[in-house]
């Protein structure tokens, strides 16, 4: 794919005499495999153009990148997303960084693959609202798309399936694996400050238990969990889960978390400090959530304010946006790229 994002750990040769399992420290962990392996560069480029092209939306004003903005860590910085015509959507826009490693997508985990996920905002009436019956023809009418689809997937031009696959291929290059934490994990002691290192230890404490769900190296887990953020959103319980999973959501990754405020499925917590305070109080337990709605690992804990600040400092060390996609100067439709919406 021409980029170095899919780095394999190759430190064994350079490591000291004793190398255990190929890792310099125990903080280095293998990333899960990416579905389909390294994507085809031509598919990635097609996916990138589609990602930024408002032609995918019904009214030609909205692209994927309007909510997953390169200058906002592939989120949007809003409390909850804004859809078609500026209408408020119920949930906070998650970053796309490392979506490639997720077993399921969407806050309520209803999409089993990136390809399936793409279709949700693409066809959602409140989002891009594309017409599945007309999308392929619309793209095929643009000669550059027609050529690119044929080249990547073979004769036949565009199709909903091909659009999904191309955008998913592009998304699989949006990796974030080389934060200062990763360099510290690879043995660079100076990569984290004292405060950040203390924060890492607090992150791994059984007092806070952050690490139990935000697992190395992805800082998430393939799980639906309840932490009790007060909202009427049924989450997983309303998307094929059991009634007992009402208010459960997928565990979001903490990669680039310093750049993706506000937080939680409803964007109700403005800062990382607010998030840490929420957990210090016992998560939803402090907000009247039923006990069964809050995982038992989420419980009140006492840490000093300096420790909370260290924890936030550590979370901010998880930033790596070097895979930030280039914004195309023009897209095949000729429509304006990332133009501010009314």
């Amino acid at each position: 794919m021409g980029r170095s994002n899919l780095r394999r750990t190759t430190i064994a040769a350079a490591a000291p005499a004793l190398v255990f399992l190929g890792f310099v420290t125990g903080l280095q962990r293998p990333f899960p495999p990416i579905a389909g392996g390294v994507p085809d560069p031509a598919a990635v480029e097609l996916g990138r153009l589609l990602f930024f092209d408002p032609v995918l939306s019904a009214d030609g004003t909205l692209s994927c990148a309007h909510c997953h903005r390169p200058d906002r860590a592939l989120a949007d910085g809003l409390r909850t997303a804004r859809g078609r015509g500026g209408r408020a959507l119920p949930r906070n826009t998650p970053t796309l960084y490392n979506a490639a490693f997720k077993d399921r997508l969407m806050w309520d985990r209803r999409a089993g693959s990136l390809e399936a996920q793409v279709r949700i905002p693409l066809f959602g009436a409140d989002e891009m609202a594309a017409d599945p019956a007309r999308l392929a023809a619309r793209l095929d009418a643009i000669p550059e798309y027609r050529r690119r689809f044929d080249r990547v997937f073979g004769e036949g031009g565009a199709s909903v399936d091909r659009v999904s696959r191309a955008i998913a291929a592009f998304e699989r290059t949006l990796l974030s694996q080389d934060s200062r934490f990763d360099r510290y994990a690879a043995g660079d002691r100076g990569a984290l400050s004292r405060s950040e290192r203390r924060g890492l230890t607090i992150f791994r404490s059984l007092n806070t238990r952050c690490f139990e769900c935000h697992r190395l190296p992805t800082f998430d887990a393939p799980l639906a969990m309840g932490i009790g953020v007060p909202s009427g959103d049924p989450g997983v319980g309303g998307a094929g889960g059991t009634p007992a999973q009402t208010g459960f959501f997928g565990v979001p990754s903490l990669r680039n978390v310093g750049a993706t405020a506000p937080y939680m499925h409803d964007g109700s917590l403005a800062t990382l400090e607010d998030v840490v305070d929420f957990y210090r109080e016992g998560g939803g337990r402090a907000h009247g959530a039923e006990p069964g709605r809050v995982h038992e690992h989420v419980r009140p804990f006492a840490i000093r304010d300096e420790e909370a600040a260290d924890l936030v400092a550590f979370l901010r060390s998880l930033g790596d946006e070097r895979a930030r996609p280039r914004v195309p100067e023009r897209v095949p439709s000729g429509l304006p790229v990332l133009e501010e919406r009314p």
Binding site: A15, P16, A17, L18, V19, F20, L21, F23, V24, T25, G26, L27, R29, A185, L200, T201, I202, R204, S205, L206, N207, T208, F211, E212, R215, L216, A221, P222, L223, A224, M225, G226, G241, T242, P243, A244, Q245, F248, R285, P291, G292, V294, H295, E296, H297, R299, F301, A302, I303
Partner: protein, 488 residues
């Protein structure tokens, strides 16, 4: 698994053999262990002198051995003074820690996170928050000869891990003594679990990435008088357990529970149940039923005589064994005298399986079993150091199921040694009447010929008992009376 063990063996030989490459770093009282760890190259041995260290340690370097130097009753103490979060958090593979006392941390005693090849041995852990020993998401785990007390969740926990040995430990006054959770191939043997809310748990719980607990083996443990009130977080599953449970298998598959001595647990001796419906509904991907478990050849006595109301409500009363009637292909062999609660479970179709020989005939160092861990890792026969009987002030001989003398009077500062001359295993354990207590006398299991000694530094009357035999009058209510310094 064979290959994993060979790899583990190689790693351990790197980490523990005093080779030319292993740096040995000495830490003395007043120095910082954290500083030594910071600068230790991979494969280092850190030796720590007795003393009190107010530190929270992280070990991310591979191949570290953190070895407390034990001299008699003296050993290094990690003391969090209820201000620090965790004693040790380790991630480097492999990792070995021994010879420390760990106390007064807010979150946890010692934790291994994502390690392949971790050994915790000869640790004395007390009052360290939610857990004492917490290996998680790890492989090839060894926890031996540790004492873990006053823990508000599980004293020794092994979670989301593969291949573990938990042996020769003493766990008491915890909510759960030992908990094997969403873990495969753990062997839990020769442990002593008493005065916990529940002695030994083999669980599947919802919300875990590893969604099974299979092929765990719980055998030759003493699970006695687990009757502590539950002081855990009532919202948690362990914190909601009714008191008085010996061994509980919940939702796990292919567990073997055999040749344990299960005595005087007031609610249930051994229980076999599914993960509760409410909990299971929170994780529909987790298979909730306990299946293909075998419970056989255990020795029961005096269980279920004072059951918790929740047990009475659920099972109609207490007993030596209780099953909730769910899950396929389970079986149990019980002696004719056993009291059962709940739904009757079919016997295991093993010839003679119901009457294995009395457990504990050979003790910890039995060499007859195939080794599941490298030989150097095997549990030593009773960790008690050899004691020079001429050098102590008084000797109590344990023979013919008696303490001789049963009552002894000494002065402050004097030492007493107990020596076991019987063929059976004994302990010297503080306790009043038939109730073991968290007191100064806490011997390991003592094989024939083993000796245990204690120096009494405070005047008073110290009553003790033998845990395995506290039902025999001759093996309890023994005393040491310690007088103030007398005229010499």
């Amino acid at each position: 698994m064979t290959r994993a063990l060979i790899v583990l063996g190689l790693c351990l030989s790197f980490a523990t053999a005093p080779s030319a490459r292993a740096d040995v770093i000495r830490v003395s009282s007043g120095d910082s262990i954290a500083e030594a760890l910071e600068n230790a190259p991979p494969g280092s041995i850190i030796e720590v002198e007795p003393g009190v260290y107010h530190e929270a340690l992280t070990v991310d370097t591979p191949g570290i051995t953190l070895r407390g130097i034990v001299r008699g009753n003296q050993r290094p103490v990690l003391d969090g003074r209820n201000r620090l979060n965790d004693g040790v958090i380790a991630s480097g593979s492999p990792f070995t820690m021994s010879g420390f006392a760990v106390r007064h941390y807010k979150g946890n005693g010692v934790s291994a996170q994502g390690i392949d090849g971790v050994t915790f041995t000869d640790l004395e852990i007390d009052d360290t928050g939610l857990y004492g020993v917490y290996p998680v998401q790890s492989r090839n785990v060894v926890v031996t000869n540790c004492t873990v007390t006053r823990i508000s969740d599980a004293g020794i926990y092994v979670g989301e891990s593969e291949n573990a040995l938990v042996a020769g430990n003493e766990v008491h006054h915890n909510v759960a003594g030992i908990e094997i959770e969403n873990t495969n191939d753990a062997e839990v043997r020769d442990n002593l679990a008493f005065a916990n809310t529940a002695g030994i748990l083999v669980f599947v719980l919802p919300g875990k990435v590893l969604k099974e607990a299979r092929r765990n083996r719980v055998h030759r443990n003493w699970v006695v008088r687990n009757n502590h009130e539950n002081f855990g977080d009532p919202v948690s599953i362990v914190g909601g357990l009714p008191p008085g449970i010996g061994i509980l298998v919940m939702g796990a598959d292919e567990t073997t529970v055999e040749r344990n001595r299960v005595k005087d647990n007031p609610s249930i001796g051994i229980g076999l149940i599914r993960l509760g419906e409410a909990e299971a509904a929170r994780d529909p991907e987790q298979e909730p039923f306990a299946e293909r478990n075998r419970i056989r050849g255990n020795y029961f006595s005096g269980n279920g005589l004072d059951p918790d109301p929740a047990i009475v409500a659920g099972y109609g009363g207490g007993g030596d064994f209780a099953w909730d009637g769910t899950g396929r292909d389970n079986c149990v062999d019980l002696p004719d005298s056993a009291a059962t609660a709940g739904v009757p479970l079919r016997p295991c179709a093993i010839p003679g399986g119901a009457r294995l020989e009395e457990p504990f005939g050979r003790g910890l160092a039995s060499g007859s079993e195939p080794a599941r861990v490298p030989p150097a890792r095997r549990v030593a026969a009773s960790a008690a150091a050899t004691v020079d009987l001429d050098a102590v002030d008084a000797v109590v001989r344990i023979r013919a199921m008696r303490f001789e003398p049963k009552h002894l009077t000494i002065h402050v500062g004097e030492s007493v040694a107990w020596t076991n001359e019987d063929a059976v295993v004994h302990t010297v354990t503080s306790g009043r009447g038939t109730v073991p207590a968290d007191g100064p006398l806490a011997s390991p299991f003592m094989m024939r010929g083993a000796t245990y000694s204690h120096v009494f530094r405070e005047p008073g009357r110290y009553e003790y008992l033998c845990l395995p035999h506290l039902d025999q009058k001759s093996m309890r209510e023994a005393t040491v009376t310690v007088l103030p310094p007398g005229p010499s």
